[in-house]
């Protein structure tokens, strides 16, 4: 009986502590964003070559772009708080102010523009296919008949490929990692999503030389930086930062360092010209 009462007290104390922690982080966050010093940036934590968390280190092209933009906004690298931004949560993270911007393979679309504003594009990707390096039978979406294809449940890529090749034999998984594993083992023939993401996987150590990106993109994805809807001043600053990043060569360096190892070359239209802010 006594033990149980002690347990209840401990639970209550934990709860109170958690609540207190929540409160303090909230107020700290607000002070940070209004002061313009600290920045909370949403990135992917699990996308090799784009946004990847390894221990306490963050690597990838999105991370490099975010660091460059933050620097031009007057925020040092150490003052950036990285926040995980899974695809489905990006709009919510921005609109509720949990992040100041999202740089996470974020395609600019009209549906998303209704909820958030975009600066950019800073990169133009396209949907492509990843196949085994020794497979020459798949050269584009038209050659997918009778092949086994893999993508992520509900993703834009899965929907597009179903539209383009209606009778495609498609396996959908929760994450791309499962698709890549199945592709390397030979159980499926191709994996489809943005070429940047594919190049990131192909450049991973365990798959180096085993997988290749086909290089026939069949869609255009304009990666933008998502910010709070209607924040034109912020958008203008970020757009200027992207422009200088492209003109001073840092952009090319970031692309080569993060996506280059797999032999990937950015498709047509790169480097892009960021759209004007409205």
């Amino acid at each position: 009986m006594k033990a149980r009462r002690l347990g209840a007290v401990a639970a209550a104390a934990t709860l109170a502590l958690t609540l207190a922690a929540c409160g303090s982080s909230d107020s700290g966050g607000n002070a940070g964003s209004s002061g313009g010093k600290g920045l909370k940036i949403g990135i992917k934590f699990d996308q090799p070559g784009l946004g990847l968390k390894k221990g306490t280190e963050f690597t990838g092209m999105d991370v490099d772009v975010a660091k460059y933009v933050a620097k031009s906004l007057g925020t040092a690298e150490g003052d950036i708080t990285w926040v995980q931004a899974p695809s489905a949560q990006r709009e919510t993270l921005i609109s509720t102010g949990q992040v100041d911007m999202v740089v996470a393979t974020y395609s600019i679309t009209d549906a998303r523009k209704e909820k958030v504003s975009f600066a950019g594009p800073y990169f133009i990707a396209g949907q492509d296919l990843l196949v085994r390096a020794d497979d020459s039978s798949i050269t584009g979406p038209d050659t997918l008949k009778g092949k086994k294809l893999c993508s992520v449940t509900g993703s834009t890529s899965a929907q597009k490929v179903k539209e383009k090749v209606p009778d495609v034999n498609l396996q959908e998984f929760g994450t791309y990692s499962e698709c890549v594993a199945a592709l390397a083992s030979g159980a499926i023939d191709a994996l489809t999503t943005d070429d940047t993401i594919l190049a990131g996987y192909a450049a991973q150590d365990q798959y180096k030389g085993k997988l290749k990106v086909v290089g026939q993109p069949f869609s255009t994805e304009n990666y933008g930086i998502g910010i709070k809807k209607g924040d034109t001043a912020m958008c203008q600053k970020i757009t200027d930062a992207i422009k200088t990043m492209i003109s001073d060569g840092s952009w090319q360096k970031a692309v080569d360092a993060n996506l280059g190892p797999a032999g990937y070359k950015p498709g047509a239209g790169n480097p892009p010209t960021p759209a004007s802010c409205s």
Partner: protein, 221 residues
């Protein structure tokens, strides 16, 4: 809200959820009854077999079993239930849901068996019934009636657990379609509530029905 209903086949997705639920419920009931019989059988090795089954499947996460069925059994060991990948995933989802929930059905039935006083089993054997006969004529009929309420809980859990199949099944079932809508339209509370409502409509009647049945069918002692 209206345009989401007209743009996406939400009823179709819930229809797949219902199919998965019905097929898996039948599979789980049959398999679970067999495992329960193993667990109460007089043969030690069969009891051990039943206990191992329950311990393995009740203690393994369903998501893991789902992914394992496709990545492990289908892709690496080559056990394909269909050449069409989405059909293959659908059939594997039914198998995994059946196998997983059979462990819970077994335990529900065993709790039902425990409601039958030991004297009845002894009396059944004393008048010369074999193990099979006493099981069929005396124990199981009462066990099912005593287990109605826990079986109802298992069925409700099964209906909701069909959403886990989204990790291998794509967008044909409710949770997969929700992922697709969120990808295209962004996350919105009305969409979440719509899907939650769908599941409440599916499960609530079962809750009421099984509570009612458990009172009506209970063996008066």
């Amino acid at each position: 809200m209206g345009d989401i209903l007209s743009k996406y086949d939400i009823f179709g997705a819930f229809w797949v959820t219902i199919q998965l639920s019905v097929l898996s419920a039948i599979g789980a009931l049959v398999l679970g009854t067999i495992v329960a019989i193993l667990r109460v059988s007089p043969v030690r090795i069969l009891r051990l077999l039943g206990t191992s089954y329950v311990n393995v499947f009740r203690n393994t996460p369903l998501t893991l079993l789902m992914v394992f069925s496709i990545l492990g059994l289908s892709f690496i060991l080559g056990i394909n239930l269909s050449q069409d990948l989405s059909r293959n995933a659908y059939l594997w989802a039914v198998v995994v849901l059946s196998v997983y929930h059979a462990a819970f059905v077994c335990e529900a039935l065993r709790s039902g068996v425990n409601t039958v006083p030991a004297g009845q089993a002894e009396a059944a054997r004393a008048i010369g019934l074999t193990f099979g006969q006493s099981l069929r004529e005396v124990l199981l009929p009462q066990a099912f009636r005593g287990a109605v309420a826990p079986l109802g809980s298992v069925l409700i859990a099964l209906i909701k657990n069909t959403t886990v199949a989204a990790v291998i099944l794509g967008t044909s079932e409710a949770a997969g379609l929700l992922a697709k809508i969120t990808e295209n339209e962004g996350a919105s509370l009305p969409t979440f509530f719509l899907f939650a409502l769908g599941f409440v409509i599916l499960t609530l009647p079962f809750g009421i029905l099984f509570t009612h049945l458990s009172q009506r069918l209970a063996v008066k002692r």
